[in-house]
């Protein structure tokens, strides 16, 4: 187990300086995510231009993995259509949860830095929380999301 696989420089940077941190008000879509066992909670707000995510922000508190994952996600999905988001969501989810994932982390740009998480099973839920939450926001789900 190499800790540097988990806490890569990109992750540490996005944890210390989260991008797109805050709330969009008024928002076209929003959802809450909450992992009560570890104490991670976040709110994601989205502005839509037709089918395209024109702006997205997150707010809340969580561990370095959940904070960095949310920060990286907001950078990666801005300007994407809902359909492109779904595709990216599936690729990231596959990379995070499958040891034998065929997704090449380098094809996902900075998001590839999250690939080390799959070696730490207890931490996968931290990285996936924001992705499920944004998905719920885009589907207009009103129940808070949990990945525990």
């Amino acid at each position: 187990m190499d800790l540097k696989d988990l806490y890569r420089d990109v992750i540490v940077d996005h944890n210390k300086h989260p991008r797109n941190f805050g709330l969009i008000d008024p928002a076209d879509a929003h959802a809450d995510g909450h992992n009560p066992l570890c104490g991670d909670q976040l709110t994601i707000t989205v502005r839509l231009d037709g089918d395209v995510i024109s702006d997205v922000k997150f707010e809340g508190s969580g561990c370095a993995i959940s904070t960095a994952s949310a920060s990286l996600m907001t950078e990666a999905v801005r300007g994407k259509s809902k359909r492109d988001f779904d595709s990216l969501h599936d690729q990231v989810h596959d990379m995070l949860t499958h040891h034998d994932s065929t997704i090449d982390p380098s094809s996902l740009g900075k998001l590839g830095a999250l690939s080390g998480v799959r070696e730490f099973p207890a931490r996968v839920k931290c990285a996936t929380l924001c992705w499920h939450t944004l998905q719920a926001a885009l589907l207009n789900h009103s129940q808070p999301v949990s990945t525990e």
Binding site: C38, C63, I65
Partner: protein
């Protein structure tokens, strides 16, 4: 005091036994985790087992296993003797008046649920009150919420102070003619606070209110005498005191247990069964439906004997030294805040560090061989009170060393390096 000086300048002992000798009794402690010696500091979640406990369980399965209270054959008699022998060991350990007062359960949680369902639920009316404190583990909250939901009784909560002590003055205001039970943690699992239950019991008795104590965190650290305490129910789990999981104890005052209806029905708890009428077994078996965790009871008795050999007072004294040293060292860590600073504490330290989430601490400390608990510790109202999502918690046992505390402190410095 210099950390390395402290850990090498004297021989740590529990009573007259060196801790290095004690550690040899615990095979699990002698291993490397992620290239570092294991420092197991998660004893409040579950403690480890001496070889004598492992051997007792193993011996039972290899030589003596059969069902209890059933057959006339030799193995059944041996199993029954050992199972009931374990009950006597537990009785003596907590100084109960009789083995009729010692009910084996799956653990503290089941013991509390038994009292909630069998003792309290039939006795409360809408508007009656059950009194707990804001320190409680979920196991001493949720069973009472169930009772309240089904009966119209009301759950009242004694507040805690910023130090993490149960507010005695507020308690005296809250207890009253509608109070049907006081259910208190003896020691807080999240903060380590030792609750001065004696003075709460004195007041409860004056009001004629029965008292249940959740002793899960108290029993591994101190001598518990239920008669001296004067409580009506005392609940604990074997796995916090070096015994197996899946077995625990409800101590109940005999007169109360006698009047309580059985909770679960099945084998062992009956005398006669017909389709028209069933008569129940006597105490304590009335509350032990089904084949019990026989090996668990035997393992628990072996654990108690091990602790008694060391002496509970010696254990308490040594752990108090560990707690003082850990508290002192942790206070020097930049940005670290200890949560729960009660005057009397068991060997549990909860803390948060500026800019580092407890969950990250848990992972980084594990990479350095240090096992601690992170999260809400099944005490979410305590976290809400301190306005924090979670804490990191180091909890010590008599087999821990001062060097392991140094290892914890070094690992915390490493966490700061990793997360920048």
């Amino acid at each position: 005091m210099n950390a390395s000086l402290h850990s090498s300048a004297f021989t740590a002992k529990v009573g007259s036994v060196e801790v290095t000798t004690i550690r040899r009794d615990f095979p699990i402690l002698n291993q490397q985790i992620n290239g570092h010696p294991l420092a197991y500091l998660d004893n409040a979640a579950s403690s480890q087992h001496p070889q004598s406990v492992i051997d007792a369980i193993s011996h039972y399965y290899q030589h003596d296993h059969a069902n209890v209270h059933r057959g006339v054959h030799t193995l059944s008699q041996r199993a029954t003797e050992q199972y009931e022998g374990a009950r006597e060991v537990v009785r003596a350990f907590v100084n109960a008046h009789s083995t009729k007062e010692i009910i084996f359960t799956r653990g503290t949680t089941e013991a509390i649920n038994l009292v909630a369902e069998s003792f309290i639920r039939p006795r409360v009316q809408p508007g009656d009150e059950i009194l707990i404190s804001a320190l409680e583990h979920h196991a001493n909250i949720v069973p009472w919420q169930h009772v309240c939901k089904h009966t119209g009784a009301v759950l009242k909560v004694i507040p805690i102070t910023q130090q993490g002590e149960v507010d005695f003055a507020a308690f005296e205001q809250l207890i009253g003619p509608r109070t049907k039970l006081l259910a208190l943690a003896h020691v807080s699992n999240a903060l380590g606070t030792i609750v001065p239950v004696e003075k709460f019991i004195t007041v409860a008795k004056r009001h004629g209110v029965p008292v249940l104590l959740d002793g899960a965190q108290a029993i591994p650290h101190s001598m518990v005498d239920v008669q001296e305490l004067g409580c009506d129910f005392y609940c604990f789990s074997a796995h916090k005191l070096c015994g197996p999981t899946g077995i625990g104890v409800l101590y109940g005052r005999e007169s109360l247990l006698d009047a309580m209806p059985p909770w679960q029905g099945g084998g062992d708890m009956i005398l006669t069964v017909s389709f028209e009428k069933t008569t129940y077994n006597q105490l304590p078996w009335k509350f032990e439906a089904g084949t019990p965790h026989i090996a668990g009871a035997i393992g628990m008795a072996a654990a108690i004997k091990y602790l008694q050999t060391l002496g509970m007072n010696n254990i308490a004294a040594y752990e108090s030294g560990l707690l003082d040293y850990a508290t002192d060292q942790l206070r020097r860590v930049p940005g670290l805040k200890i949560i729960g600073t009660a005057f009397h504490k068991a060997a549990v330290v909860s803390f948060v560090i500026d800019g580092i989430h407890p969950h990250d601490l848990g992972t980084i400390l594990d990479s350095q061989g240090v096992a601690i608990r992170t999260g809400h510790h099944c005490a979410m109202p305590v976290m809400t009170f301190y306005k924090i999502p979670a804490t990191a918690r180091a909890s010590f046992a008599f087999y821990n060393t001062f060097a392991e505390i140094d290892q914890l402190i070094a690992a915390l410095a490493h966490a700061r390096e990793v997360l920048g």
